[in-house]
Amino acid sequence: MEAFAELLDALTYTRSRNGKLALIAAYLQRTPDPDRGWALAGLTNSLDFPAVKSAVIRQLAVERVDPVLFALSRDYVGDTAETVSLLWPAPPLPGTPPTVAEAVGLLSAMTRATVYGALPALLDRLDANGRYALLKLATGAMRNGVSTRLAKIAFAQAFDVPVTDVEEYWHGQHPPYAALFDWATGRAPPPHAAGAPQFRPFMLAHPIGDTAVDLDLYAVEWKWDGIRAQIVHGDETRIYSRSGDDISHSFPELLGALDTPVVLDGELLVRGAFQGGEEGGAASFNALQQRLNRKTVSRKMLEESSAFVRLFDLLLIGDEDLRPLPWHARRARLEQFAAGLDPARFDLSAIVPATSMEALAAIRDQARDQAIEGVMLKRRDSPYLAGRPMGLWYKWKRDPLLVDCVLMYAQRGNGRRSSYYSDFTFGCWNGDPDAGAELLPVGKSYSGFTDAELKWLDHHVRTHTVNRFGPVRETDRSLVLEIAFDSIHASKRHKSGLAMRFPRIHRIRADKLPREADRIETLRALVAAEP
């Protein structure tokens, strides 16, 4: 456990991807089986201990320190596992730390009845760093920037095997991955993996910037505001996110919809009330987010926000690799293939007719609806290449809407922003501020600012606090923030009757007076027409 704890800390303090890869590879090389396999499972969030949940851990801590002191500490540290690891009273006699395998065995054996006795006994055998590692192993949410894909690359580096083989053989293996380590260290042949639905690296687009593009050479598609996804069917269907993480379990309704071996590229969207777009049918990104990171999906969720994929590329079909073909040839094959699919689960991303950049700019600006973020330009003769090749695909996001709001409340952030006041609630006037109008909250944001601006905002909050409500500070409403957002729609959940889509802090307007901020009526006029 000490080596695993050291690895977690080193990963926390190492920013570079190569640095992280080297750390994981070195750990995998020098750690014996089965510890390294369990550690790998922990890093990739592949372990689940049903009895050991965040609420249980919090409860155990609150029994040992006062609940108020725990809440203040959690608020400051920004992470429950870390707070508990630091607060946990040192046992009178230091115990013998468990191996990772022993810890996994003990955690698995815990039940709702035994966890309140067994987990403290295990925590008492570890120091603060060990407790942190144990709690992270038990609950996931490592927050150290290691994706499954990164772990696979590190595995490949550690044992000098091709990463494509790792991808292929990983499929169907379970922690602690004994067959995988046996193969990688030359002790056994590769695990059987024929028909494995394997991830292929995505092709990505560059922001268009000032590039002038000849529209005779490029095709235009909408840029959908969902999750980029790769749908792979082999002996079963898998859905991979952009980072190569397997997100299949969050979208069970898509798993039985294919029967041909195929690799598809598209945008994962959810059907919902706020429909829009040329094709219609997509909900706000918010509805999609609700579906992510769930180990189980309720029947209600499946009915109310059912997922579908808007397809835009076909990489492989049967034994045929289409990636070297030009985009237009792949598109023709995709259209042919998609015609036979269940329209409730798959549709095609439309081609947008545009003859000039000026005409396209107009189309892009008018398309202010829930599911469209802008447009994509794809060179008609482009092969499908991994990564972000130059000059082939461009994304052109529409310009954001801007309003001036007044900072009202602030809260500390989590993770990297712990201790900084970095979650901001801002409001607009419900009438003429000189005639006694009030500020009503219209949105909340924790992005858009630079690190230097964050420091400035944090200092502003600390020196302009007029009230505290638990972790929330109310400010003196003296600061104007220019807020950028993609769209705004009517909402019954907020007092202002409005909800912004992806609001971010565009500029700090310390030069403006609060009374010069925008009014609610200005925002209401920006609400897109909705059915």
Binding site: R15, V68, L72, S73, V77, L86, N467, R468
Partner: protein
């Protein structure tokens, strides 16, 4: 979550009924018309120690320990009128108030100030710690009616490890990386000299390399009788010669262009905040060293219990945590909101 009593005490601010009370420029001693650690220029200032948020320039008359006066002279030039008060000595102020300076163990010259007036005793701890520090005199607990304590690390998550462990990690990292240097961010006053002295105590005899901004204060410490061993300037040394060495700089220089002259530095920061992982990440620190010149949670609470004042006033940091502890111990306490004090220095 928080109970109504402590919420009210926290928000409404202190009662206005004592002869020591918060005012526009800091903590005011009314009968003597003088200020403790004022942040604006005033007629009469009592200064606990030389850090910038406690000692400022421009006062007419300054009462402080000789070491603190020397530090202030280095930073702000000579004050108009200074009164040097040695540890244990008492000065009579106007209005029947007397002030005794007691060691606080924070940095060289740091003092608690014991105020006596009309039979009442109030101690202002300033910043303090209880652990041994080869560069300054140890904290002396003294009885009082009101203890005005700092609370920089006033949450139970802050338990500083023994400094020997942190120094050992620093030396191990250095030994493992002969082609790189370890760059440690440390405050120019106190932290830098304590680090050097602790490295010496651990048997490290090689030259320690300094950023220019640390040199004057290190010289002052040596003049005041704190030996630091061989020190050298980064400016005078080649990149090649810095490989495998320990380099100290102010925290602000860690990610500055200045650091480009160093051979692939491993970034370290010596601070009590390094106990929280994400704080280290925020500063791009690879080697967090949990070394603080402030009392940790255990020291803060044990000191209150040991001094056992009739009332505890809490300022400068996470007041609400320590306030809650006092409440649980049934100790009368309140949080003072002092203007001009920020809680992020260590």
């Amino acid at each position: 979550m928080r109970d109504k009593g402590s919420q009210a005490a926290l928000v409404s601010g202190p009662r206005d009924c004592s002869w020591v009370r918060p005012g526009a420029s800091g903590l005011w001693v009314a009968p003597a018309d003088c200020w403790i650690d004022p942040h604006d220029p005033v007629e009469r200032a009592l200064v606990t120690h030389g850090h910038g948020d406690h000692a400022r320039g421009g006062h007419q008359q300054v009462f402080a320990t000789p070491e603190t006066l020397a530090i202030m002279a280095l930073r702000y030039g000579a004050a108009r009128d200074t009164v040097a008060v040695r540890y244990g000595d008492t000065v009579e102020l106007a209005g029947g108030v007397s002030a005794t300076f007691l060691p606080a163990g924070h940095v060289l010259g740091s003092a608690q100030i014991l105020l006596r007036y009309a039979g009442e005793r109030v101690i202002v701890t300033g910043d303090y710690k209880r652990r041994a520090d080869p560069t300054c005199a140890p904290f002396v607990p003294a009885a009082c009616d009101v203890l005005i304590t700092e609370a920089t690390f006033g949450l139970p998550v802050f338990i500083h490890p023994p400094i020997e462990e942190e120094i050992a990690r620093l030396l191990e990292t250095r030994a493992r990386n002969p082609d790189r240097c370890v760059l440690v961010g440390a405050y120019a006053l106190g932290k830098a000299q304590r680090l050097i002295a602790e490295l010496r105590r651990a048997g490290y005899g090689e030259a320690i390399y300094l950023h220019g901004a640390l040199v004057q204060m290190c010289r002052l410490y040596e003049e005041q009788g704190v030996p630091l061993g061989p020190i050298a300037l980064v400016m005078d040394t080649t990149k090649e010669a810095l490989k495998g060495q320990i380099v100290l700089c102010p925290p602000a220089a860690l990610n500055d262009r200045w650091a480009r002259r160093l051979p692939d530095p491993i970034t370290a920061l010596a601070s009590g905040w390094m106990r929280v992982r994400q704080r280290a990440r925020q500063r791009n620190v690879e080697l967090p060293l949990v070394i603080s010149d402030h009392a940790d949670w255990t020291e803060l609470t044990q000191t209150i219990a040991e001094v056992d004042p009739a009332e505890t006033w809490i300022t400068h940091g996470r007041e609400d945590g320590l306030l809650r502890w006092c409440e649980l111990q049934q100790r009368p306490a309140r949080a003072l909101a002092l203007a001009g004090m920020f809680d992020e220095d260590d």
